[in-house]
């Protein structure tokens, strides 16, 4: 198995990924994110005292931290604008007329109603989905489920629970953007599912994100108590256009003993976005964590949901697809830490690159000394639609227990001409045949999504295929 893994490791062209250190100095001086601004955010958000301190502490960490020196370049990110992004009195909303045409077209092709388009683009006011959100909330509240925005949660009935968990899985010291998040986070969802409660309908943050005040630094905190069950869906497939081109959100998921959580994301940030998101989950005994992830948008993404299998017999599954088109560098993957005994992880990743797009799949599997009986399987399939596109697989493993059963497989391929001919021989046009083959490739991910999202994902693939 080890041998197999090595075979798949390709050399990374470091010149391509190296950060320019000289940028750091200019960054520090011009960033201008001051304690006063952060304190202003605290005022605006009615932070409790501990959160005020937390933000200030995070700011110190942020200012003292270096940029990480791996992954795709982010020097196109204008850090000078950070202040503009986070200042509460900044008018974040743009004008509809400034929303790029390709995004407007996408809305149209996805069949999103006029009223919702402006809101999705982040330039409109609240709209009807706010009502839907409230209805959903009431329905689950009857089961004792708490589903609210983070600002309310931090001052509400569950304030202590929030305090106990907030940025405990992703501490501000984790990396520079986690620190930034700690200092300026705003918006996001809080969900608590009490013991034994099975939430039948998936909760969708889609509704929340469209509501006013949702920004690029949203925090999602989900606690699924013992034996409870939840499916949470984040995002939607319409591009979220924003004047600010940095997204540094944070997702923390706590799965208690015997609980089950599925976290699904279809992300389609606009193509100017630097998506530096951090997602992490902690799984107790017999708990299950399932990630379903589709990444289509952004200019540059760093996205590696991490799962800590702490309890014995806990398990995780990750199913993800990444589609990088022109000018996109999408660095995605999954991490898992096996800590308890007899834990298992199953990571299935797919990537599609087209028109010069770059997909890098990173996986990290660590098996602790005490984690006997670990089982882990990682597969990555890459499809390159032309010869200008790039695809890499970078698996990392740190195995400290001899009983671990670890597998890794990576394949890179192209659309087979024979398959295209076969579909065409039944009257299907070449364009449709290609799109069908690509959708088929993505099917293992689509089938994990609720129908309407699967349909939207397929529409997205068609759109990307059309954007020759």
């Amino acid at each position: 198995m080890e041998k197999d893994a090595k075979k798949c490791v390709r050399d990374v062209d470091h010149s391509l990924y190296d950060f320019r250190d000289e940028d750091n100095s200019s960054f520090k001086t011009s960033a201008g994110l001051t304690p006063e601004i952060v304190s202003q955010i605290s005022d605006e958000k009615h932070d409790p005292e501990w959160m005020r301190e937390f933000r200030q502490e995070s700011l110190k960490i942020y200012n003292g931290m270096k940029m990480s020196d791996w992954g795709p370049p982010i020097d196109g990110l204008n850090m000078d604008d950070i202040v503009t992004y986070v200042r509460p009195d900044t008018e974040m909303k743009g004008k509809w007329s400034e929303v790029p045409d390709d995004i407007k077209n996408t809305f149209e092709k996805l069949g999103i109603p006029e009223a919702e388009r402006k809101s999705l683009a982040g330039v409109g006011a609240q709209y009807d989905s706010e009502v839907v959100y409230h209805n959903v909330r009431e329905e689950v509240a009857a089961q004792g489920v708490v589903y609210t925005d983070m600002e309310s949660a931090i001052n509400g009935e569950y304030a202590d629970m929030v305090k106990e968990h907030f940025m405990k899985l992703v501490p501000p010291t984790d990396h520079k953007f986690a620190a930034l998040h700690g200092a300026v986070w705003s918006g996001g969802s809080f969900v608590y599912v009490p013991p034994g409660v099975k939430v039948d309908i998936p909760l969708q943050s889609y509704f929340r994100l469209n509501a006013a005040g949702a920004g690029q630094f949203e925090h999602t905190l989900i606690i699924v108590d013992k034996g409870a069950y939840l499916h949470f869906i984040e995002g939607c497939s319409a591009p979220k256009y924003s004047v600010a081109n940095l997204h540094a959100g944070c997702v923390e998921l706590f799965v208690a003993e015997g609980a089950w959580l599925r976290y699904s994301t279809i992300e389609n940030w606009s193509k100017n976005m630097y998506n530096l998101n951090t997602k992490r989950s902690l799984i107790e005994k017999d708990g299950t964590m399932e990630w379903v992830s589709g990444s289509f948008g952004s200019h540059t993404s760093y996205l590696y949901p991490m799962t800590i299998l702490k309890g014995d017999h806990s398990r995780m599954e990750y199913t993800g697809i990444t589609f990088a088109g022109r000018d996109q560098q999408l660095d995605t993957g999954a991490k898992v830490a096996h800590v308890g005994k007899n834990t298992s992880s199953h990571i299935v990743a797919k990537s599609i690159s087209k028109s010069g797009g770059e997909c890098v799949f990173r996986s990290s599997v660590t098996v602790g000394k005490a984690a006997s009986g670990t089982k882990s399987a990682v597969t990555c399939d890459s499809l390159m639609l032309d010869s200008e596109s790039r695809s890499d697989t970078i698996p990392a493993m740190d195995i400290r227990n001899d009983s671990a059963d670890i597998g890794h497989e990576a394949r890179i391929g192209r659309i087979s001409d024979d398959a295209v001919f076969y579909l065409m021989s039944r009257g299907i046009s070449e364009e449709d045949a290609r799109a069908m083959i690509v959708s088929g490739f993505a099917e293992p991910v689509a089938k994990e999504l609720p129908l309407e999202y699967a349909v939207e994902m397929n529409n997205l693939i068609k759109l990307e295929m059309d954007n020759g």
Binding site: S416, D417, D418, A419, F421, Y422, L423, M424, S425, R426, G427, I428, S429, E430, D432, A433, M436, I437, S439, G440, F441, A442, E443, P444
Partner: protein, 250 residues
């Protein structure tokens, strides 16, 4: 003679620089059934692929006419929409798209009309029954993990669902067990009843049982070297290709 549906005229075709078809002529009338036999590597599958417009093969000279129209330069999907179908010798496996989805897509591509799902499914179930195919196959990924025989049945299912004017069956019988040959033959007979034309490429007379064969051709070294009626099939079954003038020797 019935009116000409397919006419292949002095066709020369190459694949990767090697000439495979050497001035091949073939005319198939409306409602006729033609059998093509010939040694391995003679160019039978190549002929089928070239008629279907597989871009792997290049036509250097000659013409293909379908229903009076020169289709030599048409793309594969356009030919399919005119009513040409081929049951492949080795059908492709396409993951992530089910057999039913595929047939629905091709039905609406060929008719150019939105599909009536319920009626389509009813029809499909009926045909699958005729072919002794379990319905669950419709929900499986296209040919993925199908046995050799199951793939061939799936091709005939597609043929019956598409009801093309001309079907080329490339060794559809190979890989089929005795019972499967029977149901597939029954499917082919049904297809013929509609007045459609057939080109059956085969090494074996079994699949022709109960089928009225109008012409039999021997294809060798990229040309038709002999044509006759159905008795030629028996002759070849008995004596092989050795006795036929111009056939390559084993």
């Amino acid at each position: 003679m019935s009116s000409e549906l397919l006419k292949v005229e002095k066709l020369f075709a190459t694949v990767e620089g090697t000439q495979i078809l050497n001035g091949l002529d073939l005319t198939v009338g409306e409602g006729e059934t033609h059998v093509i036999m010939g040694p391995n590597g003679a160019g039978k599958s190549t002929l089928g692929n070239v008629i279907m417009g597989n871009p792997v093969y290049s036509v250097d000279s000659g013409h293909i006419y379908f229903d009076g129209q020169d289709i030599t330069a048409l793309k594969t999907d356009e030919r399919a929409r005119l009513g040409i179908f081929i049951s492949f010798q080795s059908p492709q496996e396409v993951p992530g798209i089910t057999l039913e989805q595929f047939m629905r897509a091709s039905r609406s591509a060929v008719t150019g009309k939105p599909l009536k799902v319920f009626a389509f499914q009813k029809e499909m179930k009926g045909v699958m029954e005729t072919l002794s195919m379990d319905h669950s196959y419709a929900g499986r990924d296209l040919n993925v993990g199908f046995s050799g025989g199951e793939k061939k049945k799936a091709e005939i299912l597609q043929m019956l669902m598409m009801n093309p004017r001309l079907a080329i069956l490339d060794e559809t019988d190979s890989g089929l067990d005795v019972d499967a040959v029977k149901v597939v033959s029954e499917g082919i007979r049904q297809f013929k009843k509609e007045g459609n034309s057939l080109i059956i490429i085969t090494h074996n007379a079994r699949i022709l049982e109960g089928l009225k064969v109008d012409y039999t051709h021997v294809l060798s070294k990229g040309r038709i070297i002999k044509s006759g009626d159905s008795s030629l099939v028996d002759e070849i079954e008995r004596d092989g290709f050795k006795g036929i003038d111009g056939a390559e020797q084993e």
